[in-house]
Symmetry: C2
Subunit: 380 residues, 2 copies
């Protein structure tokens, strides 16, 4: 039993579930039972029926996040379905509890239909204080998140989009400090226009980036293309102001930053060599990056980040979501606005006092990280 | 702070939720994280994708019960909605864990539409090992349970029906020992033809009762009536073989047993006096029974049971469901058959060695109760 995979399977077999429900109060007598359950609980229910707001004082609802997945885009494994998604959702739940004290319930769905997913989440929503969407593939994830956020009176957050975007933004803030460049003056090329890529483009522009080109499998996303779905049309509106057409290689030439959320091998060393000096490379495909860090460095990259824990500068959504939800729930904030996302990114970036090429992103155990993210939600 | 109600509200305010999620394993290092979450969890997901049965070995699914309610029939409080139902569902979850080691998740719905409830439960079903329906009003509860049980490859159990029926059956078995009568020779009158009343009539007949009359607000349910909905038509088929018409008072006259699942005050002392000798009275309306135990006894009843913990012989669903689900889950049994229900009732009854008029039903803390119920599921 040497590999991480073998160890992980053995651990999961032993645990039969990484999480469990526990009672906060033992029931040891009929008197206890009469308070926790009937008849005493009748008064609690009656009080909430009279004043629904009281549910937040008298039940766990306010601290409960549903982690909802249809299993359509799980890690790098793709559309492996709801059962196979469950161990990932349990892992997220462990992280939610340990790092932010949040009770997160995996909810995996046996439908991948947009309308059915929306209806299902609306139907079960009174159970929860917030909704984390997880591992739902693009482009369905955009509509599902948008419509649920509009319909529900609670935070709705698709982690694969915004969790990734916030941590990338944090890493980029520090990478730019290392190379001494400004976000509003640089050229950014991106490869991958799925959930994460789209959200990253959005946060970059909200943060002040002026020159962003996003590529999909076909090439640079431009208004002039006639093969764009609705989310990519929106991307074409906010990026690529000069309607540049071309390939990924064209997009990368002269860029200061390249951000990949695509697949293994899609960024070549020649592309890196064609970039501006002090190039910044975020190669986030997992488990195999678009280009391996050593290759990127040999080709001239100054700062490299990946999604992996075995290289420096890991972009890990889990740096963000525990604190973000803690802050949203504690402050009764319903909408995760672009400003909140940028504040969270700034809080993550600021955990590193003096960024270096090998150290632009904190890790899960950086002291005070999750508290700082939670606090940032309401900072000015 | 003297009353149970005041104490219950104070306790709920203090706890802000009676249950919580806890991790079975702490995450204290990047190495831990790599096993619980990415990259290690990828191998676990992959394994389940290849062989879906493995989800039962590698996640908590097999030990997780959804407690689903639409808040339409909560305790004696009626249709108070999903938020007000939540504290009751949390109480059930505490009991599930403490008495049977089961992880039960409250799921409260913001729809009371039969089709939407069915679709929602089907959509979230991959998350769970079994479904407990709870506090869903009749007649919708019958169709919802039946269709979900048919569609899902897991136990589906509406506690207000069968939990009550099983415990009533257990109590009646012992009450009949006290008075020395046989189930297949006695006359049973019932008042209340909702979820509980219908399920009680069914289990009585499966257990061998030959003479059962059920009354609703209008009177005795009989095939000749033209105002019966579908569930009551079914009741008219299996009870009242001689198509007797009349009032509740007519039904009770000469009966050996009366079982109320209706409302306060519906059973009068004159009715009790009109019963056969050694009358057995189950007055289960909660919190105020159809007739108070002292009044029933003064009028000639020999054995009296209620739903209350402050009188002898409490009919409490929670005597049944923890052990029943434990036994179903542990033995991979999907359908809660009438035979399983009667076996569970027998197991509960048998917890009392020598039944007396004041002691026909065990309580939650009776040693070995829940284990005996769990074991009964597969007994011959």
């Amino acid at each position: 039993m040497n590999t991480t995979s073998e160890k992980a399977i053995a651990l999961h077999e032993k645990l039969k579930g990484k999480i469990e429900i526990t009672a906060k109060i033992p029931v040891q007598s009929m008197e206890d039972l009469a308070l926790v359950y009937t008849p005493g609980v009748g008064a609690v229910s009656h009080e909430i029926a009279e004043n629904p707001e009281r549910v937040n004082d008298l039940t766990w609802k306010k601290n409960v996040v549903a982690i909802v997945s249809d299993g359509s885009a799980v890690l790098g494994l793709g559309n492996i379905g709801p059962l196979a998604a469950l161990p990932v959702m349990e892992g997220k739940s462990v992280i939610f509890k340990q790092f932010a004290g949040i009770d997160a319930i995996p909810i995996v769905l046996n439908t991948q239909d947009t309308e059915e997913i929306i209806k299902t989440v609306l139907a079960i929503s009174p159970t929860f204080g917030a909704i984390q969407l997880e591992d739902i593939s693009a482009p369905r994830c955009f509509e599902i998140e948008e419509r649920l956020a509009d319909a529900l009176n609670m935070p709705v957050f698709h982690d694969d989009q915004h969790g990734t975007a916030i941590v990338v933004m944090a890493g980029l803030m520090n990478a730019l400090k290392v190379v001494g460049k400004n976000l509003n003056e640089i050229k950014i090329a991106m490869v991958g226009a799925g959930a994460a890529g789209t959200a990253i483009a959005n946060i970059l522009i909200h943060a002040g980036a002026k020159n962003v080109l996003v590529c999909d499998r076909i090439g640079i996303i431009a208004k002039s293309r006639d093969n764009l779905n609705a989310p990519k049309k929106k991307l074409a509106e906010i990026t690529n102001k000069n309607n540049i057409e071309g390939t990924l290689a064209d997009a990368v030439r002269g860029a200061d930053v390249i951000i990949g959320t695509s697949g293994p091998g899609l960024i070549h060393t020649e592309m890196i060599s064609s970039m501006n000096s002090d190039a910044i490379v975020f190669a986030l495909a997992n488990p195999t990056p678009e280009i391996m860090p050593d290759d990127a460095k040999s080709a001239g990259a100054r700062v490299v980040a990946t999604g992996r824990s075995d290289f420096p500068n890991q972009v890990n959504n889990a740096l963000c979501y525990p604190g973000l939800f803690r802050g949203m729930l504690d402050n009764n904030i319903i909408h995760v606005t672009p400003e909140i996302k940028i504040r969270a990114a700034t809080a993550i970036a600021n955990m590193i006092q003096t960024p270096t090429a090998e150290n632009i992103i904190p890790n899960m155990f950086t002291e005070g990280l999750h508290e700082a993210v939670a606090k940032s939600i309401t900072s000015k």
